[in-house]
C-alpha cells in the first residue's frame, strides 16, 4: 500500500512537472534548442554532408551555395559539416567538465554542511581561493603547462566547476538541516552520511540540475575561447573556437567563414541558458525571482 502510494505520487509529480514545463516559454524554447544541438551532434557521427577530413583545395573559400550551404574554408572543407562535427567536441568537453564539478563539488559541499564548524570554514575558504583565479587565466595556464588538448581543457574547466557546485550544494544543504524531516531522520538514528544520501541529495537535486545547465553553457563558451587561442581541441579535429581562429585570418577575403561557427556557439549557449532559467522556474517556484 505504502509502496503503491509512493509510485502514484511520483507519477503525479512527473505529470505535474510536464504540465508546468510545457507552459513555460523559456523551458520550451531552451529544451527545443538544446535537443536540436544534441541531435545534430549525434547525427554527425553517422552522417555529414561532406567528409571533414578530406581537403579539396579546388573548392576552397567558396561562398555559400546549394552545394555548400555555409560555404567552404581555406582547405575546401564544408563548413556545415565541420560545424556539425565541432558540436561533439564542445558538448563533450563542457559536459564532462560539469561532471567533474558535480562529482567533486557536491560531496565537498554536503560534507561541509553536515559537519559545519571548522571543516566548513576551511572548505569554503579553499573555494574562495580557487575563485580568486580568473577562470580563463588559470585554464590558459593549465592547458599551456600540461600541453594543449581537449583532455586538459576538460580538466581546466572542470576544476573551476568544483567550488561552484560545492557552494550551491552547501548552501542548499545548510538550509535543509534544521528542517523537521531531517530532525526526524536524526531521531531515528541515521548518521549524517546516510541522511545526506537519502534526504539531502534528493532535495537539492533540482538546484544542482539548474546550476549544471548554467555551468554547461559557461563550459561551451570556455572551450570555444581555449580552442580559439589554440589551447583546446587540436586540429585536424574541427572545433568551433578553432574554426573562428582560422576564419579571422581569412576575414578580408572570406567573411562567411566566421558566421556559422559563431552562430553555433550562440545558439547552443542561448538554448542552455533558456533551459536553465525555465528549469529553475518550473522546478522551484520559490527560487523564482520577480521577473
Amino acid at each position: 500500500m505504502a509502496q503503491g502510494e509512493l509510485i502514484a505520487t511520483e507519477h503525479e509529480d512527473w505529470r505535474h512537472f510536464l504540465r508546468k514545463a510545457l507552459g513555460n516559454r523559456s523551458f520550451l524554447a531552451g529544451a527545443t534548442i538544446t535537443l536540436f544541438v544534441v541531435a545534430v551532434a549525434l547525427v554527425s557521427f553517422v552522417w555529414t554532408p561532406y567528409d571533414v577530413t578530406k581537403l579539396v583545395i579546388a573548392d576552397r573559400l567558396q561562398a555559400p551555395s546549394s552545394a555548400h550551404w555555409f560555404g567552404t574554408d581555406h582547405f575546401g572543407r564544408d563548413i556545415l559539416s565541420m560545424t556539425m562535427v565541432g558540436s561533439r567536441n564542445s558538448i563533450a568537453v563542457a559536459l564532462i567538465a560539469v561532471g567533474i564539478g558535480m562529482a567533486l563539488g557536491v560531496p565537498l559541499g554536503t560534507f561541509a554542511a553536515a559537519r559545519r564548524g571548522l571543516t566548513d570554514e576551511v572548505l569554503m575558504r579553499a573555494s574562495d581561493i580557487v575563485f580568486a583565479f580568473p577562470a580563463l587565466l588559470s585554464a590558459v595556464m593549465i592547458t599551456a603547462i600540461f600541453g594543449p588538448g581537449a583532455v586538459n581543457a576538460i580538466i581546466a574547466i572542470g576544476i573551476f566547476n568544483v567550488p561552484v557546485f560545492a557552494r550551491v550544494a552547501r548552501g542548499a544543504a545548510l538550509a535543509l538541516w534544521p528542517r523537521e524531516f531531517i530532525l526526524a531522520a536524526r531521531a531515528s538514528g541515521k548518521g549524517a552520511g546516510l541522511i545526506t544520501l537519502q534526504h539531502i541529495l534528493p532535495n537539492i537535486a533540482n538546484l544542482l540540475l539548474v546550476q549544471g545547465t548554467i555551468q554547461f553553457s559557461l563550459g561551451i563558451l570556455a572551450e570555444a575561447g581555449l580552442s580559439y587561442v589554440g589551447l583546446g581541441t587540436q586540429p585536424p579535429a574541427p572545433s568551433w573556437g578553432r574554426m573562428l581562429f582560422e576564419a579571422q585570418t581569412m576575414m578580408a577575403i572570406a567573411p562567411h567563414m566566421a558566421i556559422v561557427p559563431g552562430l553555433a556557439i550562440i545558439v547552443t549557449v542561448l538554448g542552455l541558458n533558456l533551459l536553465g532559467d525555465g528549469l529553475r522556474d518550473v522546478l522551484d517556484p520559490r527560487l523564482r525571482r520577480q521577473r
Partner: protein
C-alpha cells in the same frame, strides 16, 4: 566596522599566500630547466650549473618561495628568462595597454547596463521589457572574441574607421592609442553589460517591492523620482558587488581579446610567456592578477559593509 575590516583583511592575506603558493607549486612541477632553456641546448653542463647558482635555482623550494614573495613585496619580480629584463619593467609597459582597456570596458558596460536595467525594471512585464531581456540573453550567449572578429570586419576592414589590431603606444598621442582600444573595449564590455543590466533590473525589482518605496509613492512622489532617489540607490549595492566580480572576468577576457587585436597587453604577455616557458613572468603576472582580483573584491566588500551595517555581522 573595524573588526569586520580586520577579519576580512586576514582572510585576504591567507587567500593571497595560498594562491601564490599554488601558482609557485604548479610551476615548480613543470618539466624543463629554466637555466638550460636560457642557454640553449649546446651550452656545457658547467655553464648551466653556474647559471642555476646565479639564479638561485639550486636552493630549496621553500627558500626560493620566500625570496620570490619577499621580492614581489618590494617591487622586485625577478628577471624574465627570455627578455632578460626585470619582470616589473615588462609588466609596467604592458599595463599601460591592459589597464586603460579594462577601465574603458568597465565604464562602457556600466554606462550601458544601468540605464538599460532601469528602463527595463520601470516597464516590467511590457513588450519593451521582454525585448530588452531577450537582447540581454543574446548578449550573454555571444562569445566576446566572435563579436570582436565581427567588429574588426565591420569597422576596420569594411569601413576603415579604426585599425584592425596592434597598438601605436601613447607617445604618438592619445587619439591613435584610444582608437586602437575602442573595438577591444566594446567587445569586452558587451557580455558584461548584458549580465549587469539583468542584475540591475532584478535588484531594482527587489527594492521596488519594499515598504519604503510604497511609502514614498503613497506620499505622492512622482514615480520617476521614487525610482531614481529611493530605489536606484539601494539597488546599486548588489550591482556594485557584481561589478567587483566582473573585474575578474574582464581581466581574464583581456587574455583572449588582446590576442584577437594583437594588443601588447598583460594578457598577451602572460600568454606568450607560457608558450616560451618564461615561468618567472607567468608566476608574477598570474599572482599580480589574482592579487588585484582579491583586493578589488575586498574593497567592494568593505564599501558594501560600510553602506549597509546589516552585512557586518557574519
Amino acid at each position: 566596522m573595524l573588526s569586520y575590516a580586520l577579519r576580512r583583511s586576514l582572510i585576504v592575506l591567507i587567500t593571497l599566500v595560498a594562491a601564490s603558493a599554488i601558482v609557485f607549486a604548479v610551476l615548480e612541477i613543470v618539466p624543463g630547466d629554466p637555466a638550460r632553456l636560457m642557454l640553449g641546448m649546446n651550452a656545457t653542463e658547467d655553464a648551466v650549473q653556474a647559471l642555476r647558482q646565479q639564479m638561485g635555482l639550486d636552493q630549496s623550494v621553500a627558500v626560493r618561495y620566500v625570496a620570490w614573495i619577499g621580492g614581489m613585496l618590494t617591487g622586485d619580480f625577478g628577471r624574465s628568462y627570455t627578455y632578460a629584463v626585470p619582470v616589473i619593467d615588462l609588466v609596467r609597459e604592458r599595463l599601460v595597454v591592459s589597464l586603460p582597456l579594462a577601465a574603458m570596458a568597465l565604464v562602457l558596460s556600466t554606462a550601458i547596463a544601468i540605464p538599460v536595467g532601469v528602463f527595463s525594471a520601470a516597464r516590467r512585464g511590457t513588450a519593451a521589457d521582454t525585448g530588452v531581456m531577450a537582447a540581454t540573453q543574446l548578449g550573454i550567449a555571444i562569445p566576446n572574441f566572435w563579436f570582436a572578429i565581427l567588429l574588426v570586419y565591420l569597422f576596420a576592414i569594411t569601413l576603415r574607421l579604426v585599425p584592425a589590431g596592434g597598438f601605436p603606444g601613447w607617445q604618438g598621442g592619445v587619439w591613435p592609442a584610444l582608437s586602437a582600444l575602442i573595438l577591444p573595449a566594446i567587445a569586452l564590455a558587451l557580455p558584461q553589460a548584458a549580465i549587469l543590466s539583468r542584475v540591475t533590473r532584478s535588484a531594482l525589482l527587489d527594492v521596488l517591492g519594499e515598504d519604503y518605496i510604497r511609502t514614498a509613492r503613497a506620499k505622492g512622489l512622482p514615480s520617476g523620482l521614487v525610482l531614481r532617489r529611493h530605489a536606484l540607490r539601494n539597488a546599486l549595492i548588489p550591482v556594485l558587488t557584481i561589478l567587483g566580480l566582473q573585474f575578474s572576468f574582464l581581466l581574464a577576457g583581456t587574455i583572449i581579446i588582446e590576442n584577437v587585436f594583437y594588443l601588447p597587453g598583460l594578457g598577451r604577455l602572460v600568454f606568450q610567456a607560457i608558450t616560451q616557458r618564461d615561468l618567472i613572468v607567468v608566476e608574477s603576472v598570474v599572482v599580480l592578477l589574482v592579487a588585484t582580483v582579491v583586493i578589488v573584491n575586498f574593497l567592494v566588500d568593505l564599501a558594501y559593509a560600510w553602506a549597509d551595517p546589516r552585512l557586518r555581522r557574519r
